[in-house]
């Protein structure tokens, strides 16, 4: 029997997910014995997945330009099982936050407006480079995805679990649990009187971070990471994306914020005060999943109108 083969396609991404595969450390030789690694751009000099096809294709990164759409369709055709590998391919990830702006705004900012840019003629690259799409997409917008392994990057333990499942022909599924379910910190009485940004106050190492007033996305985020951030006393940023019962991390988080505040109305902060205490609401709550949230992007024309105070 020939060994099952693996191809890893890299789209709009920082390559951290590929490094996460290397983070298997001592388990890696075993994996490489069992799997034929056919294509991975960080290690091999190939431009596209092998024509003869592979058993499993991993796609890391969201879809930002037209070339990536093509590459994505190629790997879908050439692999029997397709895995969305990492937060970017699953929900658009951090690059997905670009959906708050139009394509033209982004190009203007990057190639002309930034202080460090020297571009006297104001040229925006348009030849040779593939044109950008209007917005960032998770790969599921274009192709059928068989399995999703979220995370920024996915933890090595889950990668090993996924590979084992695939080798044994089993279904791979994350348990329907939130980060909070796996978090070791103690949840106590919900009595927040003000919300604070991380790093501005001393942290109680025993107590739930959300109840201390930090913006921890644990209650709305898919578990599986064994709460690695809250365990290290850093609030969860939501890189595993929404759980099965959550469609929009921001909406669900707003629900959680509403109920985590102290019950006594005389001590509770005014709603307007809470809004002030949470700067960059969309960027905080949809840090990884804006491109897969309810609205997917900002309605640009309307944002401009509202800034100018023009009524529609």
């Amino acid at each position: 029997m020939t060994k099952p083969s693996l191809a890893v396609e890299t789209l709009s991404i920082c390559s951290g997910c590929e490094i996460a595969i290397l983070d298997l450390h001592q388990a890696l030789p075993g994996v490489l014995d069992a799997i034929d690694l056919k294509y991975i751009q960080v290690l091999m000099d190939f431009r596209e997945p092998p024509k003869e096809g592979v058993t499993v294709g991993f796609v890391s990164g969201g879809v930002r330009n037209e070339e990536q759409v093509e590459l994505l369709h190629k790997i879908r055709e050439r692999s029997q099982i397709l895995v969305a590998f990492g937060a970017c391919s699953a929900f658009g990830g951090i690059p997905g936050l670009a959906n708050l702006h139009t394509k033209d705004e982004l190009l203007q900012e990057v190639y002309i407006d930034t202080v460090s840019t020297v571009n006297p003629k104001g040229v925006i690259p348009h030849k040779v480079v593939p044109p950008l799409l209007e917005e960032v997409h998770p790969i599921s917008d274009f192709v059928k995805v068989d399995y999703v392994l979220p995370g920024c990057p996915p933890p090595p333990k889950l990668i090993a679990e996924l590979v084992t499942c695939l080798l044994e022909g089993k279904e791979f599924r994350l348990e329907p649990k939130t980060v909070c379910d796996q978090c070791p910190l103690t949840k106590d009485e919900k009595s927040v009187t003000n919300f604070i940004r991380w790093g501005t106050k001393k942290i109680d190492p025993e107590r739930c971070l959300l109840e201390q007033g930090f913006q921890c996305l644990g209650p709305v985020t898919q578990g599986g990471c064994e709460a690695r951030c809250p365990t290290a006393l850093a609030p969860c940023r939501g890189c595993f994306g929404p759980t099965e019962s959550v469609h929009d991390q921001a909406a669900k988080m707003i629900g959680a914020i509403g109920s985590v505040v102290i019950q006594d109305p005389t001590k509770a902060p005014a709603p307007e005060q809470i809004v002030k205490e949470i700067p960059d609401l969309v960027g905080t709550y949809l840090r990884f999943s804006l491109a897969a949230s309810t609205f997917k992007k900002a309605l640009h024309t309307n944002v401009v109108k509202m800034k100018k105070g023009v009524k529609a």
């Binding site: 929009d248 709603p271 809004v275 969309v282 309307n302």
Partner: protein, 142 residues
């Protein structure tokens, strides 16, 4: 539907103990108000998950009205306080994403305030008419 005879579609979540009874009061007192709202009865305004509101807007509702008991009257003690925080945060979310926060409105209407229910409905419909159709609805299906 052409733009001329466009009528706003409004989803109204009314709390069972106060506002839904208030709407009933408006009805039994034969108070006239615009028929644009689809009223959904919920047990408490605190039951309204922000995801419901976003979903209504995503499905091209032009406005969402949430009606609950006055502070201190909540049947579940603090449900309406929670709602007040959520709505304020949601308005901020809508603003950042490019939907007018005015499309979301929170009102406290007791079971005796049939007139207030009718007045709220009138003013909300007028406000939404000024704002125009939900921008997501442009070119979309009816």
């Amino acid at each position: 539907m052409t733009k001329k005879n466009w009528e706003p579609k409004i989803v109204c979540f009314a709390c069972r103990w106060c506002s839904y009874a208030g709407a009933d009061m408006a009805g039994t007192s034969r108070i006239q108000y615009p028929p644009n709202a689809r009223v959904i009865r919920v047990n408490c305004s605190g039951r309204v998950d922000p995801q419901f509101i976003l979903r209504a807007l995503k499905l091209k509702a032009d406005g969402v009205l949430i009606a609950g008991c006055h502070f201190g009257d909540c049947h579940y003690v603090s449900g309406n306080y929670q709602t007040s925080r959520r709505v304020e945060l949601l308005k901020e979310y809508l603003k950042e994403i490019g939907l007018e926060p005015e499309r979301l409105r929170l009102e406290w209407i007791s079971a005796a305030e049939g007139t207030k229910f009718a007045e709220t409905m009138k003013s909300f419909v007028n406000e939404i008419k000024l704002l125009g159709p939900n921008p997501l609805a442009d070119g979309g299906p009816e």
